[in-house]
C-alpha cells in the first residue's frame, strides 16, 4: 500500500517510471470529467449493491437464527456453498442465468410471461448489481448471523412482553445488538462492489464501466500509466471510505 502511495507521485514516460514528487496525477484524477463520472457511477453501484445485500442478508440471518433455529447451521452451509466455486465461475454462472437465451429469459418465455428476451437483464448496470449482490450475499450473511447468535431469545421475549411491536423490536433491540455484524456486512458489500472491475467487464456491457476498470487499464499494456492508476486508486479509496464512515454514523444514529 505504501509502495503504491509513493508511486502515485511519480511520472510515466514512455516505457519508464520516473521518480518524482508531483501532484499532477491527483489533479488529473479529480479534474477529469471521465474519472469523475466513473467515480460517481462506482459509488452508486457500490451503494445500491450494499443496500440490496445487507437487508437480504439480515432477513436471511434472522430466519436462520430465530425462525429455523434448528436448521440454521445447515442453511448457513448451503449459503456458503457458493463460495467453494471460483469467482470467475460464479460470474459466468450469472451470465448463464441472465443472458438473452439464459435461464431466466427462457423460463419467462416458456411461462408465456414475455415474448422477447428482457435485454436489460444482461450487459447493463442492473446485471452488475444483480451479479454483485449474488456474489457478495454469502459474505454479508456471515457477520450478521454471527452477531445475531449473541442475541438471546430471552431479550427478544422480554421486549415483546413489554409491548414492543415487531418493527420497534427490530429497530431498537435487534439492530443495535447486531450492529457490529451489520456494519461489517455493509463494509464487505459496499467496498468490494465499489472495488470490483471483473463483474462490470463480464456482465456490464457498454454502459457499466467502473473506476476499477480504468485503474486496471492503467497497469497493463503499452500506453499504461502506473502513477496515474495509483493516484486514481487512492482517490477512490478516500471517497469510498468517507461514504462508508458516513453511512455507519447514520446507521448508528437511526438505531440508537
Amino acid at each position: 500500500m505504501l509502495s503504491l502511495f509513493v508511486l502515485s507521485f511519480w511520472r510515466a514516460k514512455g516505457f519508464e517510471l520516473i521518480p518524482d514528487f508531483t501532484l499532477a496525477n491527483y489533479e488529473k484524477a479529480v479534474v477529469s470529467k471521465l474519472y469523475r463520472t466513473l467515480l460517481v457511477r462506482t459509488v452508486l453501484v457500490g451503494f445500491v449493491t450494499a443496500a440490496i445485500v445487507v437487508p437480504i442478508a439480515f432477513a436471511l440471518s434472522y430466519a436462520m437464527r430465530f425462525v429455523f433455529e434448528r436448521r440454521g447451521q445447515l442453511i448457513l452451509q448451503l449459503v456458503l456453498l457458493s463460495l467453494f466455486s471460483g469467482y470467475l465461475v460464479r460470474i459466468y454462472a450469472w451470465r448463464t442465468i441472465l443472458g438473452k437465451q439464459g435461464l431466466l429469459n427462457s423460463t419467462l418465455q416458456w411461462l408465456g410471461l414475455i415474448n422477447e428476451p428482457l435485454e436489460f437483464l444482461i450487459y447493463s448496470n442492473i446485471a452488475v448489481v444483480i451479479t454483485l449482490s449474488g456474489l457478495l450475499l454469502p459474505l454479508a450473511v456471515l457477520p450478521i448471523y454471527s452477531a445475531l447468535l449473541n442475541v438471546s431469545r430471552d431479550q427478544m421475549e422480554a421486549a415483546r412482553d413489554l409491548g414492543a411491536g415487531r418493527v420497534h423490536l427490530i429497530r431498537t433491540i435487534l439492530l443495535p445488538l447486531a450492529m457490529p455484524g451489520v456494519r461489517t456486512a455493509f463494509a464487505f458489500a459496499f467496498l468490494l462492489a465499489a472495488g470490483d472491475f471483473v463483474t462490470p467487464t463480464l456482465v456490464g456491457g457498454t454502459q457499466s464501466l467502473l473506476i476499477g476498470n480504468i485503474i486496471a487499464d492503467q497497469f497493463r499494456g503499452i500506453g499504461s500509466n502506473w502513477p496515474l492508476g495509483a493516484a486514481l486508486a487512492f482517490v477512490t479509496i478516500a471517497i469510498v471510505l468517507v461514504i462508508y464512515l458516513a453511512v455507519v454514523q447514520i446507521l448508528a444514529r437511526v438505531t440508537r
Binding site: 451470465r95 457498454t206 499494456g221 500506453g223
Partner: protein
C-alpha cells in the same frame, strides 16, 4: 522501491485474459499427437544443456506440452511465468529481472517499438545456433520488426489476424467498411475486444487516414466520434478473445469485431457455427509473436536449444495447433489439419520481407511525437469511448 512496487502490483494485476490461456487446457492434449514426431527431431546437440531455463511470455508459448520431451531429455527445468501485457517483460527486466531472464515472447509491434527506441531488452541472436530457423516462411526470415542494424532479435513462433467473426445464420457477409457498423440494423449484434489499439487503428483505416498508427489529437477525436456512432449497436466489450467467443456462442451478439479465427473452432465444438470475414474494403490487421532472448540471459545454451527445437516443423505445427494460430515454419503447414490451416491467409507469409505483417504498424508511438499523439492518449480515448 521501484522493484517492490512492481512486485506488489504484478502479483495483483496479472490476471491473464489472453487468447492462449483460454484454449490451453482444451487444446493441450490434442497437440500430443502432432508432438510424437517432434521428439525425434530434438536439437539437443550442444553439450552444455541442463539446469534452468527462465521463460517470461504469453501463456502457452512456453510450449508446456510441446517442449516436454525436449526438456526431459536434456534435464532442463523450465521456469515459466506469464505476462498479461506486452510491456511486462521490460518492466521486470528494469526492476531486478536483468540477468535472471532467458526467453521472452514479444509481439511484433512491441518488439518493433523496443528496437526502434534503442531500449535494451533483447540480445541479437546467433542464427547459426538456430538452424531450424532456415525453415521459416519467407515473410518471417529477416522480418523488419525483428531486425536492427542487420542483426536479428527474434524467431517468429505463431501469427494470425483479427478478422470479424460472425454468425452466418444472421448475416451473409460483413459490410464493406467498419464505419458501416453504425447502421441501426446492427443494434444489439456487436461485440468488440477490449483493445484500444486494434479498435482505434481499424477505425482510422476505415476513415481513410493515411497513417492510422500516427494520429494527431484531432484525428484521434474524429476516430472516437466515428466509433461512438457504432456504440449503440455494441452489446459488450469482451475482456479477451475467449470471452468474445463466449458471448457469440451464447447468442448474446452475432458479430465479433477484432475477433480471432480460432473462435470458429471453439464455437464448432459447442455446436454453434461461426465464420470469419472482414470488411472487404478495410480488411484487418495481423500479429505475430516471436521467441527472443533477454540481454544478459544466464542460460544461453538452453535458450538457443529450446528455440531451435521449437522452430522445427513438428514442434511449430504442434504449437500452432495448441494455440489455434498460424504456423511460421513452411514445412509445418503440411502437418496441420486442414481446418486449422484454412483459418489463416497464408499467402501473406509466403512473401519475403514480412509481407503485410511488415508494413502494418498498429501500435502508436509510446510518447507523443510532434503533432502525433502517443499511446497514453489512445488509451484515454478508448476509455472515453467505453465510458460514454
Amino acid at each position: 522501491m521501484n522493484e517492490m512496487v512492481r512486485g506488489f502490483l504484478d502479483a495483483r494485476l496479472n490476471a491473464d485474459v489472453s487468447r492462449r490461456r483460454f484454449i490451453q487446457g482444451a487444446a493441450g492434449l490434442a497437440s500430443l499427437s502432432v508432438l510424437g514426431a517432434a521428439t525425434g527431431a530434438s536439437a539437443a546437440e550442444t553439450p552444455k544443456l541442463g539446469g534452468q531455463l527462465n521463460f517470461l511470455g504469453w501463456d502457452g508459448e512456453h510450449g508446456g506440452n510441446v517442449a516436454k520431451p525436449f526438456l526431459e531429455k536434456n534435464g532442463i527445468q523450465l521456469q515459466a511465468s506469464f505476462q498479461s501485457a506486452a510491456d511486462e517483460a521490460l518492466t521486470r527486466f528494469n526492476t531486478g529481472g536483468r540477468g535472471a531472464m532467458d526467453l521472452l515472447t514479444p509481439n511484433k509491434d512491441f518488439q518493433r517499438a523496443i528496437l526502434a527506441s534503442n531500449v535494451e531488452l533483447f540480445q541479437p541472436l546467433d542464427l547459426a545456433r538456430i538452424p531450424t530457423a532456415e525453415g521459416l516462411f519467407p515473410a518471417f526470415k529477416g522480418a523488419p520488426w525483428l531486425v536492427r542494424d542487420g542483426k536479428t532479435y527474434g524467431i517468429p513462433i505463431i501469427w494470425g489476424d483479427e478478422p470479424c467473426v460472425f454468425n452466418p445464420t444472421k448475416w451473409d457477409k460483413m459490410p464493406a467498411r467498419y464505419t458501416d457498423f453504425a447502421d441501426p440494423k446492427y443494434k444489439g449484434q456487436l461485440v468488440l475486444l477490449d483493445d484500444p489499439f486494434g479498435n482505434i487503428w481499424l477505425y482510422a483505416v476505415s476513415l481513410g487516414m493515411k497513417e492510422p498508427s500516427r494520429l494527431t489529437a484531432a484525428e484521434l477525436e474524429q476516430v472516437i466520434e466515428a466509433m461512438l456512432k457504432m456504440k449503440p449497436n455494441v452489446v459488450t466489450i469482451g475482456a479477451s478473445h475467449g470471452d468474445m467467443a463466449d458471448v457469440l456462442i451464447r447468442g448474446d451478439a452475432s458479430i465479433g469485431i477484432g475477433g480471432w479465427a480460432y473462435q470458429t473452432l471453439i464455437a464448432k465444438e459447442k455446436g454453434v457455427k461461426l465464420v470469419v470475414g472482414s470488411p472487404e474494403v478495410d480488411g484487418t490487421f495481423f500479429w505475430s509473436d516471436a521467441y527472443a532472448i533477454a540481454a544478459d540471459a544466464p542460460n544461453l545454451d538452453n535458450a538457443y536449444a529450446f528455440i531451435d527445437f521449437m522452430t522445427s516443423a513438428q514442434s511449430n505445427a504442434a504449437l500452432a495447433k495448441e494455440l489455434g494460430s498460424g504456423c511460421t515454419v513452411e514445412a509445418a503447414y503440411d502437418l496441420l489439419d486442414p481446418g486449422l490451416r484454412d483459418l489463416y491467409p497464408y499467402d501473406n507469409v509466403r512473401k519475403p520481407g514480412g509481407g503485410i505483417l511488415g508494413t502494418q504498424i498498429v501500435v502508436p508511438p509510446q510518447e507523443a511525437d510532434g503533432d502525433v499523439v502517443g499511446a497514453p492518449a489512445w488509451v484515454e480515448a478508448w476509455q472515453t469511448f467505453k465510458a460514454s
